[in-house]
Symmetry: C2
Subunit: 458 residues, 2 copies
């Protein structure tokens, strides 16, 4: 118990989890099922098959199996960049002069620069196993697209990425990374798809959105022989794969007898947050432990804190299934000056259910405060964080400062999902005082909620 | 001995070396001393004092002390990003279908993106200890400047960086990283210094060179109260600090009973190569082991393979001491299309002596072949390498392919010094077929050699 705690806790390779944990198996209130956009009835595996890979569909629909063994080939790939270190923020603690102990799980030590690789390799693996030729996807900041292109290159799969136009333009170097890994990258909305052309017609000059890029990627996959669509967040299968983050964190903490009081993750579609908290939330639900769990989202895209808990389309084009989730409406697009990532209009349905059940909290933060926290963290902890991850840093610092005020020696764990090397234009804006905060007005949100489907479902 | 070798060998924190190794102590033929540009006599500590920090001068001049203890504060900083993993390139081996075993020491897992941080923190530490206000330096690709700005930010020192203009323009995001860490960055040649103005007058529109940026940084340091100059390569003190790379590699290899046959490092000024090979070369000199040691340099800047072994200025402005080294002449600037880094005209004097004594080999490679190797490596090993590091990859692959032909099960160790996230413009050129090779003609080199000082020194 009193073992000296190193700066970085690295597990041995043979301590990498051998199975993913499916939090839904332990939930009393299961998340609501996906609905078919045509029948408005729960989607069957058969209905999902034209879009998704078969094995991923069975993971998506399974809410009873607690553990899914990780195939050996994926474990081998994981070994190339995992285990990810759990880092004690000794320097930050000292600077804050807080009695709190701060740990972060750092998922940025791989070329995709984020945790996205954890699921990308899994989805590419099952596509390959199914004998497919390739996959399509969307990407926002480019983290997911990069991760997927790495996984596809490793397995010899074709990879077609629709990249949110504003990111494509702001982050030209991400495109080159994807090209290095052999992917083709198209700015979205594009004229390549029907839905893309429709969106361009309705909103000429739009910077695009994740929801819109998703529609294009899905259309492309369903209309191209030997292709399926894969998605980097939002879905429960992704949360399942990302449970490796939380499982590894827990093993590392347990090794040193550390029990976190507060667990903090940034939340866009929910993939990192869901993965990080999974085993801890499982304990909480089973009554074995208690944790404060906090989701952090941008004030300019506040799905949890200001969204509606309702069935909504996962994409702008309304071709995807509907999910019951906290949502701002599938047409919601954050203000153009938003540089902090986490731009998705909705939220993973499992996390939504947990939030609705009061099992976790959510806060929203302004992006200038996020970049200030990012810079503070970079200077003292060395790692240049992604804007997305910095949402969690911001709230971790806030909580550590509260501990200073109250004198409480709380243990804080947060997810540092990735690095900000490709976000320097946003950092530049911040340095030059050209970054502004934007919070949508109630009227704007109300207008966006109007697009929610009017369904007669309890 | 037959322990299963993991993908990544991570040492424990308490296995990080506690002392740097000074290879010169074991050399029979010591490297030639630095000469004063004024008296042409060996520089004394007193003469170096206006330029360098005192403790670093004593490290620079000491060729007898084999081990320098690493101060605890530096060990603490090292723990933030070290130990660096020694990685077995299982996937690359499999792809090459070679009986060779390939290991690489990966130094890119920190925000500076390279091994440069190993020396940056040391130099900043001694500047701080001496009560200085700040330091000046030059940077090429920006790796060293980033590393130094990180170290200075951590210690609360002012940091002034002269960045080779062509890199400043090609790599705008590096500048923002340095700004994030609070450094000021000036494209060189600049009008801020006398030597900068002189060079601009003689070569209007020049893209600059490391040698020229050095001159500016030295001038600034010597003319500003409370400042000293620090340098990221070339000097023996840097090689001393970088010995942590080789020492860690050796500890990791020894743990698993692995003995490399071939050790490969890229060579610009020599900091990585010198650090990587130090303990192995020590054994070789002492007759305890034998290794093939290979320096890899760009064909467009071939100091080892086509340079003269002579006393030359370390900088274009001829304000720095002279070093006996393999050099292309202090005015040499690689062709503008050169994108592969390693642009320095000379080479560390210790490495130069070792090369002159036949203790190591050198090869030069063309940049398109370097980028091809980089892409091959990225796709199969996951890590997107820096162009500099990819020189070593190229030759490691070549050697592994030779092993396939001969059936020899050689063990290859190479230094993967950093990541290429800020080099995507060069990758783009490569992808678009817009990258060309350039090898200076004999006449061009001859003209450059004309600028070598005519000294009457044996």
């Amino acid at each position: 118990m009193s073992k000296e705690i190193p700066y970085k806790i690295y597990l041995e390779e043979n301590e990498i989890p051998k199975a993913w944990y499916n939090l839904r198996a332990d939930m009393k209130n299961k998340p609501a099922p996906l609905l078919s956009p045509e029948t408005l009835k729960p989607m069957s595996a058969k209905e999902l098959a034209p879009v998704f890979c078969d094995e991923l569909i069975s993971q998506e629909l399974d809410e009873n199996t607690a553990y899914f063994p990780i195939p050996q080939d994926i474990l081998d790939f994981y070994k190339m960049y995992r285990p990810a270190p759990l880092i004690r923020a000794y320097c930050l603690e000292k600077q804050l002069d807080t009695p709190a102990k701060i740990y972060y799980k750092f998922e940025g030590n791989n070329t995709s620069g984020s945790h996205k690789l954890n699921s990308a390799i899994v989805q590419a693996y099952y596509a390959k196993k199914q004998g497919l030729k390739g996959v399509t996807t969307e990407t926002g900041a480019g983290q997911w697209g990069t991760a997927l292109s790495m996984a596809c290159s490793y397995l010899g799969l074709d990879c077609k990425v629709y990249m949110v136009k504003v990111s494509y333009e702001q982050k030209p170097f991400r495109r080159e990374v994807m090209r290095t890994y052999g992917a083709s990258v198209t700015p979205s909305p594009s004229t390549e798809t029907e839905i893309g052309r429709k969106i361009l017609e309705a909103h000429p000059g739009t910077g695009g959105s994740l929801g819109c890029a998703i529609s294009e990627a899905v259309e492309k996959a369903t209309k191209t022989e030997g292709y399926r669509y894969v998605l980097g967040s939002v879905l429960n299968q992704v949360m399942l794969h990302q449970s490796v983050i939380g499982l590894e964190s827990k093993i590392a903490l347990d090794k040193y007898g550390i029990k976190p009081d507060i667990i903090i993750g940034c939340a866009g579609g929910g993939s990192n947050l869901g993965g990080l908290i999974a085993p801890f939330m499982g304990e909480k639900i089973r009554g074995e432990a208690d944790y404060r769990i906090i989701a952090v989202e941008p004030k300019s895209c506040p799905s949890f804190t200001r969204g509606k808990y309702a069935y909504d389309y996962c994409d702008t084009g309304m071709v995807c299934p509907l999910a019951k989730m906290y949502t701002l409406g599938s047409n919601f697009i954050p203000a153009p000056n938003h540089a902090g990532g986490l731009r998705y209009h909705g939220m993973n349905s499992t996390l939504s259910q947990l939030y609705a059940d009061g099992l976790m909290e959510a806060v929203s933060v302004e992006q200038t405060s996020v970049f200030a926290a990012a810079e503070q963290f970079a200077r003292i902890e060395g790692i240049l964080p992604a804007p997305e991850s910095s949402h969690a840093i911001k709230v971790a610092i806030d909580e550590a400062v509260k501990c200073k005020e109250t004198g409480e020696e709380k243990t804080i764990l947060f997810g540092l999902t990735g690095t900000g090397y490709f976000d320097m234009m946003s950092y530049e804006k911040f340095h030059d005082g050209k970054m502004f905060d934007y919070t949508p007005t109630d009227e704007e949100l109300q207008a966006s909620f109007e697009t929610l489907p009017k369904l007669d479902i309890k």
